[in-house]
């Protein structure tokens, strides 16, 4: 499982540029289900189970990750950029980036020695940063990169005790769990979607859900764990290693109360996502068509949307168990 997750995380797939991740996911699932790719680039899969379900269930994970898009080149060969999805400036400064999996660069800014007083302690505006690829002029830079190219912050995938550290844990963890569900024999037929453009407004999930018209949905995600010393106890949201985070409400969704209760009462290690913050594909899914009863199961993840996110391998195993439990319960009718 760790090897597959490592492989998934190290592929670059900024929103709108998910091709490489999609190809790899298809290579993993193609022998286990029927699948097609829609106009946006979502993978829509149908998994045949032993039995026909009482409810049509869709299980979703998103392919894309946060990153960077090159917007212009200065006369002296530096690249200006916009962030794709939410990335804090401190996570960008003085980091190595890979542009189109090809060109090395470094996100640079004015070194602190050349700043005075208070500005030494304040994160600068993101738009004051730029990427240095070593080019000396605009024309030289444009021989190496194109306007519109995507870049990601590079990172090693490392195992730290029971935990892992990597880029793109949001949401390659979800992809891993969904691939695992597809690879095993299923009790009931279900749909699986690997969706694009989640980080730029939950967009892929809109068309995928429209196409499937499910009765119920399970979103597999990674969510903010703020279990760090600077967070007060009531601001920790959820804790790494303390079980799957189950959402009751966030900025995009009010989740199905019965499903929430069923997940929390499952006996599988889990915890409430104890904040009304953030959002995920559920926001698009639960409002699709005539409405879809939706639950989100997430791996608690520290430093989410940075190149050094940390999550627990045990939480991920529990996420697979809980996803299977909810899928079978909803499809089979034991979860009302």
């Amino acid at each position: 499982m760790t090897d597959l997750l490592k492989h998934l995380c190290l592929i670059d797939g900024t929103s709108g540029d998910e091709d490489s991740v999609r190809e790899f996911v298809i290579s993993q699932i193609k022998d286990y289900c029927e699948y097609k790719t829609d106009n946006l680039g979502n993978i829509i899969c149908f998994k045949k189970g032993k039995k026909r379900p009482l409810k049509k269930v869709m299980v979703d994970a998103h392919l894309d990750e946060v990153g960077i898009i090159i917007t212009s080149v200065t006369e002296n060969g530096f690249l200006k950029f916009s962030v794709v999805g939410g990335i804090d400036t401190t996570a960008l400064m003085f980091r190595k980036v890979k542009i189109c999996d090809r060109v090395n660069g470094v996100i640079s800014g004015k070194p602190y020695h050349l700043l005075s007083g208070e500005s030494r302690k304040k994160a600068p505006q993101t738009d004051s940063l730029y990427i240095d690829i070593g080019a000396k002029s605009k024309s030289e830079a444009l021989e190496l990169v194109n306007i519109g190219d995507r870049a990601v912050l590079t990172s090693d995938f490392e195992v730290l005790g029971d935990n892992i550290k990597s880029k793109a844990l949001d949401d390659r963890i979800g992809c891993l769990v969904l691939i695992s569900l597809l690879k095993e024999d299923s009790e009931y037929d279900f749909y699986a979607t690997f969706t694009v453009q989640e980080e730029v407004g939950l967009r892929g999930a809109k068309t995928a859900t429209y196409a499937i018209e499910p009765d119920a949905a399970i979103a597999l995600e990674a969510t903010t764990a703020a279990d760090i010393p600077s967070s007060a106890d009531d601001k920790k949201v959820c804790c790494v290693g303390k079980g799957v985070a189950v959402s009751f409400m966030d900025k995009a969704t009010v989740y199905d109360k019965e499903y929430y209760k069923a997940a929390i009462g499952s006996g599988i290690p889990c915890q409430p996502k104890a904040a009304v913050a953030g959002g995920n594909n559920s926001g698009s899914i639960h409002l699709s068509g005539k409405g879809v009863r939706t639950i989100a199961l997430s791996a608690p993840c520290r430093y989410i949307h940075t190149s050094s996110s940390i999550a627990s391998l045990t939480d991920i195993e529990n996420m697979l168990s809980l996803a299977r439990y909810m899928l079978n319960g909803i499809a089979g009718g034991s979860i009302k």
């Binding site: 002296n76 530096f78 804090d88 400036t89 401190t90 996570a91 400064m93 003085f94 980091r95 190595k96 060109v103 090395n104 470094v106 640079s108 800014g109 004015k110 070194p111 602190y112 020695h113 050349l114 302690k121 304040k122 994160a123 600068p124 004051s128 730029y130 240095d132 690829i133 070593g134 080019a135 000396k136 030289e140 190496l144 990172s155 090693d156 490392e158 730290l160 005790g161 935990n163 550290k165 903010t224 703020a226 279990d227 760090i228 010393p229 600077s230 967070s231 601001k235 949201v237 790494v240 904040a275 953030g278 520290r302 430093y303 989410i304 949307h305 940075t306 190149s307 050094s308 940390i310």
Partner: protein, 337 residues
């Protein structure tokens, strides 16, 4: 070894406090040309004899910036203090190496999105905890007083430029080692001292004892200086690819600076000038006032993103620095003036 390989090899080693991987590597490389020694305070020093009693010291500092662990909590979070100048703005979510009973990776905490107010400000490094992700087991591996250093690989970017951690001042160290290679076996007009000094980032410490014991007549500190960038003005920084920067400052010896300039001109070696109104912030400040005084100079390599894990320099500048130092030594420095 090519200068790039030399730089990458040196930058991959750790040299901070009592961790002396970098010194051992430099010692082995220097040992190919002469008989160096590692002193009790972890300076690496070697000599090549010349025809006169006059001695010129080529100095680069071998230590790097980092952190030291001051507290370990029961959840595996460390409090650290900086060892050398650190840009705290760029620490959150950065992975670093903790040199405990074994080397482990840890990540500086970043403000979670729901708690960020869009105006991130840090008052002190001790506020930014370091996450080992090992929980209570962290204490089995990490002890108070352990060192922490930036993690990062060395890699090329365009135009013969390269990026990596600790180029400050492994770039200078690479030049000093290259000079030992170039000058060994040659007939030298003066004695040459190769000094890779420890503890520069903590207050020019190693060079103090090194200069005291060696007593050179003249010394050149080979260090890095601020490289250019976007919205960094020409009076704040030096362009990359224009050669080494010869220092001119009231605390430096005027004749040595002038001689460096004239040697560069005579041999068509690219160079620039770095004019400073007072102290240079390099080992030269300490060298000048060692014992009865040493004629001190600086020759600096422009470096972008100084004191980060992604320092950038131009390999052409390293070659220019080596060319200039070689010609300068062979000219005898200012020994005849």
């Amino acid at each position: 070894m090519e200068i790039k390989d030399l730089l990458f090899t040196l930058s991959g080693k750790t040299g901070i406090g009592s961790i002396t991987e970098a010194q051992k590597t430099a010692y082995e490389i220097l040992g190919e040309y002469l008989e160096p020694q590692i002193t009790d305070d972890f300076n690496v020093i070697g000599f090549l004899s010349g025809k006169s009693d006059y001695a010129i010291m080529l100095d680069a500092h071998i230590d790097q910036i980092g952190f030291v662990v001051t507290d370990i909590d029961e959840n595996g979070f460390l409090t650290v203090s900086n060892a050398g100048g650190i840009d705290i703005r760029a620490l959150p979510s950065r992975a670093v190496t903790v040199h405990g009973k074994q080397k482990i990776t840890a990540v500086f905490c970043s403000t979670p999105p729901h708690l960020a107010n869009g105006d991130t400000e840090y008052t002190d490094i001790t506020e930014i905890k370091l996450d080992t992700a090992l929980g209570e087991k962290a204490k089995e591996i990490v002890s108070i007083g352990d060192y922490v250093t930036f993690t990062g690989d060395c890699f090329p970017i365009a135009n013969g430029r390269v990026c990596g951690p600790s180029f400050d001042d492994r770039a200078g160290v690479a030049c000093v080692l290259e000079l030992a290679k170039r000058l060994s076996g040659k007939e030298l007009p003066v004695n040459v001292v190769f000094c890779l000094s420890n503890g520069e980032e903590l207050g020019l410490r190693g060079v103090r004892t090194a200069a005291f014991s060696v007593e050179p007549n003249e010394a050149i500190a080979i260090d890095v200086t601020f490289g250019d960038g976007l919205n960094i003005s020409a009076d704040e920084a030096c362009g990359l690819g224009e050669g080494g920067m010869i220092g001119i400052s009231p605390v430096l010896d005027k004749k040595v600076s002038q001689k460096l300039i004239s040697v560069a001109k005579e041999n068509n070696i690219p160079y620039g000038l770095e004019v400073m109104g007072s102290k240079t912030g390099t080992n030269a400040d300490m060298l000048g006032i060692s014992r009865k005084g040493v004629k001190a100079a600086t020759l600096s390599i422009p470096l972008r993103n100084m004191h980060t894990a992604v320092e950038i320099l131009d390999l052409g500048d390293l070659s220019a620095v080596c060319d200039l130092l070689e010609s300068y030594i062979l000219s005898g420095g200012v020994s005849n003036d």
